[in-house]
Symmetry: C2
Subunit: 332 residues, 2 copies
């Protein structure tokens, strides 16, 4: 694992902050702790590490950094086409220098039924795309890497954004996802509607996640039908900084009111069943914070729909077909 | 249960907000939901309910309300001498109209060994203090109710503030706590160092919480000694709006550095063991968010000291006695 320390150091030299805030996914905390000590010693900058879970580049701490009086907030591990968010947050890359050669070799037998492959991955493996493309081309495949768009770099996908994978879906027979994250690979399969094979370089396993994706899709559809006859809806606005889709939530509220539903807007920072069961006189929830909360299969006692799901439900209520509601580049 | 609706309505009439945010302890959510519907219908004001846990009047949502574009935030259920916090937060009373007569009668046999009693309670029973005083006086006790100070009204205590109980401790033989909250009653016993009897009007039980308080105190002392030889400290700054004691945390950091310790400041919104075990190379934590997190006996894998505990540890390191470190009017 390599954290882009140079970027952090150069920002520190430029801004000369008294204090900085560091946040990262849990797995990188040991490295970030070491880095913090080093920065304190060598640059005489006070460091504060965030211990809250960090879900993605939607989950920044720009306002928190301001309240703590830190001049810079480094959000480590979720690289993106955007390098700065808010007033003081800088996104810092992490590179995983694991070798994909072996797992690619391992995958050839399961990939041989396809001619044209798309490749995509998450930020920490983006630097492996070129080499992977070359290796797969040498093995005889026609390879396509989707262009970046908005927040996404070439070939990049996030938990709710799949543009570079979605946009090439008519040019390919299957997608290859680099990394050890079923969460992301299944997202790719659901968004593109194409067979998706995850190349896990750690376990050296090529896993076709398509059947799992189908299972998740069925569950999403079921949940949607479970909410069909609900009368009282809670519309949840996420309180994490980048997950606060207030306007979107209010649009959904208005539309639900048009359908004659009873609607209560609700704010919540960490959306768990434990916090929702308290609302006894609500039949179903819509949550606008993060589509993955609804789709990933954590068990909730009541239906809790993401934005694509409530849009599908609106269609059902209108007497239309629900469409293939997850086959979209963006689940928001 | 009576929520002070008149206060809410009069604020709404005055401010004429487009939207309001409502937060309350979990137990009052059904009532607050009903109230929200009523406000939407009768006053054409959009309501948003917070579903996050609400721990006290340290746990307001003034910044969140601002980010949501709401003009008023009603923090319901934690009455205080301060009626407004931040720019838009109004504290709203809840009154529990339960009758204490029966439990007082029930308590007389266990109280008879004392002559002079202090009475204290939490916000929702404050209106019962007068009647209780009268009943106990009629039974022959000398009754003292401590004067309010800072945030606290006469006879009021909170989770970390005990002024009105603490200040009368030399004038009384024991304290009577009104309500069904061992959490608060034990706090009173620890802060005052006096026998404390909780009068639970729901179960009609008079419970002497003093033995439990002694147990909690022992555990607090043990935890403190467990941290005595720690080398690497994490100093936690709470991210809940009223729990962010950044300066206090930095003072503790400086002092730990003077003792030659390694210190890493950490931010955390909801302090749980699950979030702390990730920090493998930290031996002990100091948390400045809320003393009760350390003292209430949730099990943490590593020592996690509150502010009074780290102050006691400083004394131990200086070769002094640790003092009776919880016998204070304020645990911050």
């Amino acid at each position: 694992v390599r954290i882009d320390e140079n970027k952090i150091i150069s920002e520190i030299k430029q801004v000369k902050p008294a204090a900085i805030l560091l946040s990262c996914p849990d797995g990188y905390l040991p490295q970030v702790q070491q880095l913090a000590s080093k920065i304190e010693k060598e640059y005489n900058v006070r460091t504060i590490i965030s211990a809250d879970p960090t879900y993605g580049c939607c989950d920044i701490m720009d306002d928190d950094a301001s309240r703590l009086g830190t001049d810079l907030a480094f959000h480590i591990g979720h690289n993106s086409a955007i390098k700065r968010i808010g007033k003081r947050t800088v996104l810092i890359d992490i590179y995983e220098d694991v070798d994909f050669t072996k797992v690619i070799k391992e995958s050839l037998s399961s990939l041989k039924k396809y001619n044209r492959l798309g490749i995509c991955t998450i930020s920490q493996y983006l630097h492996q795309l070129g080499k992977t493309k070359k290796t797969l081309e040498e093995a005889g495949f026609k390879i396509c890497i989707g262009e970046g768009q908005e927040r996404l770099l070439d070939g990049q996908i996030m938990g709710c954004r799949f543009g570079p994978a979605f946009n090439i879906r008519d040019k390919i027979d299957a997608l290859v996802f680099l990394g050890q994250s079923r969460f992301h690979a299944i997202g790719v399969a659901l968004s593109t509607g194409r067979p998706t094979i995850m190349l896990d370089p750690y376990l050296t396993i090529a896993e076709d996640v398509t059947p799992l994706a189908e299972k998740w899709l069925k569950r999403s559809i079921l949940q949607l039908y479970n909410a069909r006859d609900a009368e009282r809806f809670g519309v949840i606005i996420g309180l994490r900084e980048g997950q606060n889709l207030f306007k979107r939530a209010m649009q959904i509220r208005s539309k639900l009111l048009e359908y004659g539903k009873v609607v209560q807007p609700i704010t919540l920072r960490e959306i768990t069943d434990e916090r929702l069961v308290i609302f006894k006189n609500i039949d179903a929830f819509i949550q606008t914070a993060c589509p993955r909360i609804s789709i990933d299969g954590e068990t909730f006692s009541k239906p809790i729909l993401s934005i694509p799901q409530i849009e599908a439900l609106f269609n059902i209520w209108d007497g239309k077909e629900p469409e293939v509601f997850l086959e979209k580049p963006l689940w928001l």
